[in-house]
């Protein structure tokens, strides 16, 4: 997993709350068996009109946000289905961090598994970042996991909280399964005490 330490990138705003994973990656793309190549399907039904043409009114289709790597959006982002494909779509499309007032649990867990950072900030701070992204051309932020801070070059700065171990895992790019298997002895001991019927 690619470590996340300090990332500077362009911000793209998605001015909606309760964005569910069916919107992030619609079901027809869940039939794939690969883990890559989901980037072009991100927000598919919002990006395209029913006849397949790009929907110019959708924020992420606007050329000014091309190459964005930080998404700023509304509360309860990633609610609904547990599909990790939603995170793969964001990651494959180049997003390294998502900033929102809150995230759904399963989605947030899935982000950790893929080195995507979920940054929880207050509503007012999120609104301010989105405003700057909409008004300042090529607006960039620095997401600093080492100091748990989001800042820009225009004087904005906010700190965020994050589970200590999640932060450690992301900073080091640690493989989850390898860590668990270090406890082989305890797992085996548990299984001896609780045999499968």
């Amino acid at each position: 997993m690619q470590p996340f330490r300090v990332h500077q990138g362009k911000v793209a705003p998605l001015d909606r709350a309760n964005v569910d994973t069916d919107q992030i990656i619609p079901k027809q793309f869940l039939k794939r068996i690969e883990k890559t190549g989901f980037g072009e399907f991100l927000f598919y039904d919002w990006r395209r009109t029913p006849d397949g043409k790009p929907n110019s009114t959708f924020s992420l289709n606007q050329p000014r946000y091309a190459g964005a790597s930080v998404l700023v959006t509304g509360r309860n982002f990633g609610c609904g289905s547990s599909r990790e494909h939603a995170v793969w779509a964001l990651a494959n499309a180049g997003f390294r961090a998502v900033i929102a007032p809150s995230f759904a649990d399963i989605f947030a867990n899935n982000c950790v598994q893929n080195g995507v950072l979920t940054v929880v900030l207050g509503e007012a701070e999120v609104t301010e970042i989105a405003r700057r992204a909409e008004q300042i051309p090529d607006y960039q932020v620095t997401v600093d996991l080492e100091h748990k801070q989001v800042r820009d070059q225009g004087g904005f700065s906010a700190t965020f909280q994050l589970d200590g171990f999640v932060r450690h895992r992301l900073l080091e790019g640690l493989d989850d399964i390898g860590l668990t298997l270090k406890h082989e002895a305890e797992i085996a001991a548990y299984e001896t005490r609780h045999p499968a019927l």
């Binding site: 909606r16 709350a17 309760n18 569910d20 069916d22 919107q23 619609p26 079901k27 027809q28 869940l30 039939k31 794939r32 068996i33 690969e34 883990k35 039904d45 029913p50 509304g74 509360r75 309860n76 609610c79 609904g80 289905s81 547990s82 599909r83 990790e84 494909h85 995170v87 809150s102 759904a104 649990d105 399963i106 867990n109 899935n110 598994q113 893929n114 589970d163 200590g164 171990f165 450690h168 989850d176 399964i177 860590l179 668990t180 298997l181 270090k182 406890h183 305890e186 797992i187 001991a189 548990y190 299984e191 005490r193 609780h194 499968a196 019927l197």
Partner: protein, 495 residues
């Protein structure tokens, strides 16, 4: 106090914090959730989340291919094939079995599961199996789902199994790989929420309506970070299938999991099922399960009180499960909503759903009706819908389908003649699968089609791009199919 809590101390894993941990669990009253949690913690590595052991891992074709490939790449095997069970449900057509799968990508994904189960020794209830069905329907049917177990699946509606007093939750594909490799999952301990439902659900008001009522009250993120425990006389009065519907829908309130303490209703359901414990093991298990209910005085982080007698049949109007109104109500006016953000979101929803504010729900016509999904496709759901349909005809403008949750449900329904009732009324009677819940297989809404659905999500495009989903109970769905519009089931003239 069960012997198992002492075993850890006897094993000699004596670090100060662990001894204190066990003494604490003996002294304080614990909730159902805490008892199961405590019993399944393998270890707590310093500075890391606890490792939780998983008793049962359910697998289906959509969220597993990359997980099995990950095992292959790392040269790992499935640690506990005997605690792992797979089925095909999301992608498969509900046409008669033997009809070829026309979607090559779906066919490839199903073939991948077959190969993966064969290569890794995981039992698979495949398309031709008499036990095949939606994963959250067959687990309980087979007696795999039992009180006190930890159960995971790469599917958010895994919360269903909590109806049995199990700790059951959805995970993503990376965690699926993790469980396959280690039979454990690192997990921060969630908070707890007690939802106490007093009173009685009225005639025509079902577990589905209770679930919609809860989500309508607390919102789609009302339970985020929490495991819900449902208690109270109205919950006790629910059958196991009703409790499954309630726990199934809980993810739509953001809950990590949902649970109902096991009782005689639970034991009667589980007994004699294929994978249920038998004889001496059965007696021992039931004795253990009786001790799982929350202790008097156990504390929860949040409490929600609901009076079941104030609830009626609900219908969703918007594009998330929290946007509900009673059947006698109307599509909300924007002025009724509190914040700018809510009004903006509602405007979008109304446009997507093709609805005007203030419209009476009973004036809204439907084009399609879907009775099925892991929420409402079990035998009692089908009986209830059939009772409504009997003696009537589906409205000529409506296409209605009934999709039993499993082959076993289908056979039982056919033994009771429910299929004949549905077919005579003009409903399509299909094979088992997830079907139109999520538009991944051929059962899909066309843009603009409005559907009364017994499923669990009404997000934009959920049942097909541009499809308009309204969530209801099975009886309400059957009534809508016949009337051609939403109608109050409490006024239904049963034939």
């Amino acid at each position: 106090m069960s012997g198992k809590a002492w075993t850890g101390v006897r094993q000699g894993v004596l670090r100060g914090f662990k001894v204190k941990y066990f003494l604490k669990t003996m002294a304080e009253p614990r909730t159902l959730f805490e008892k199961i949690w405590d019993e399944h913690v393998v270890c707590v590595p310093p500075g890391q989340p606890p490792l939780l052991y998983i008793d049962l891992h359910l697998v289906h074709e959509v969220t597993s291919p990359q997980a099995f490939d990950g095992l292959r790449e790392a040269g790992r095997r499935v640690r506990q094939p005997q605690r792992t069970i797979a089925t095909v449900d999301h992608n498969i057509p509900t046409e008669p079995r033997g009809t070829p799968i026309t979607d090559p990508i779906a066919a490839r994904q199903i073939a991948a599961l077959q190969k993966n189960c064969k290569d890794f020794g995981v039992p698979l209830f495949d398309m031709d199996s008499p036990e095949q069905g939606i994963v959250h329907v067959i687990g309980p049917e087979l007696g795999l789902t039992q009180p006190g177990k930890t159960i995971v699946c790469g599917d958010s509606h895994t919360s269903t199994h909590g109806a049995f007093g199990a700790l059951a939750f959805g995970i993503g594909t990376s965690e699926v790989e993790h469980v396959l490799a280690t039979q454990c999952v690192p997990q921060r301990k969630p908070k707890t929420m007690l939802i106490r439902v007093s009173g009685q659900l009225g005639e025509g008001v079902t577990a589905k309506d209770l679930a919609l009522g809860v989500i309508g009250q607390i919102g789609t993120d009302g339970a985020t970070g929490h495991v819900i425990e449902y208690a109270g006389e109205a919950v006790r009065a629910l059958s196991m299938e009703g409790r499954m519907t309630l726990c199934n829908m809980s993810i739509e309130a953001g809950a990590r999991a949902a649970m109902v303490a096991p009782d005689e209703t639970t034991f009667a359901y589980v007994k004699s099922r294929r994978f249920a414990p038998k004889d001496a093991e059965w007696e021992k298990s039931v004795a253990h399960w009786r001790g799982l209910a929350s202790d008097p005085g156990a504390r929860y982080n949040k409490l929600v009180e609901i009076d079941a007698s104030t609830l009626g049949p609900f219908v969703t109007w918007g594009t998330n499960p929290g946007m509900v109104v009673p059947i006698g109500g109307r599509v909300p006016k924007l002025s009724e909503l509190k914040t700018d953000a809510d009004r903006q979101a509602a405007e979008r929803m109304l446009e997507y759903m093709g609805l005007e504010a203030g419209t009476r729900m009973e004036d809204i016509s439907v084009d399609r009706v879907f009775i099925g999904s892991c929420t409402n496709s079990r035998l009692e759901d089908l009986r209830a819908a059939a009772r409504v349909a009997k003696g009537y005809q589906v409205n000529p403008k409506v296409r209605a389908m009934v999709v039993p949750g499993s082959q076993a449900v289908k056979r039982a329904a056919e033994r009771e003649g429910l299929d004949k009732i549905f077919e005579q009324a003009g409903f399509e009677w299909r094979e088992s699968g997830c079907s139109m819940c999520l538009g991944m297989n051929p059962d899909i809404l066309q843009p603009g089609e409005r559907c009364a659905s017994t499923s669990n999500r009404n997000f934009e495009g959920r049942q097909g791009r541009g499809g308009r989903t309204h969530l209801v109970s099975p009886m309400m769905a059957a009534a809508a199919a016949i009337a051609g519009h939403f109608t109050d089931i409490r006024k239904w003239q049963f034939q």
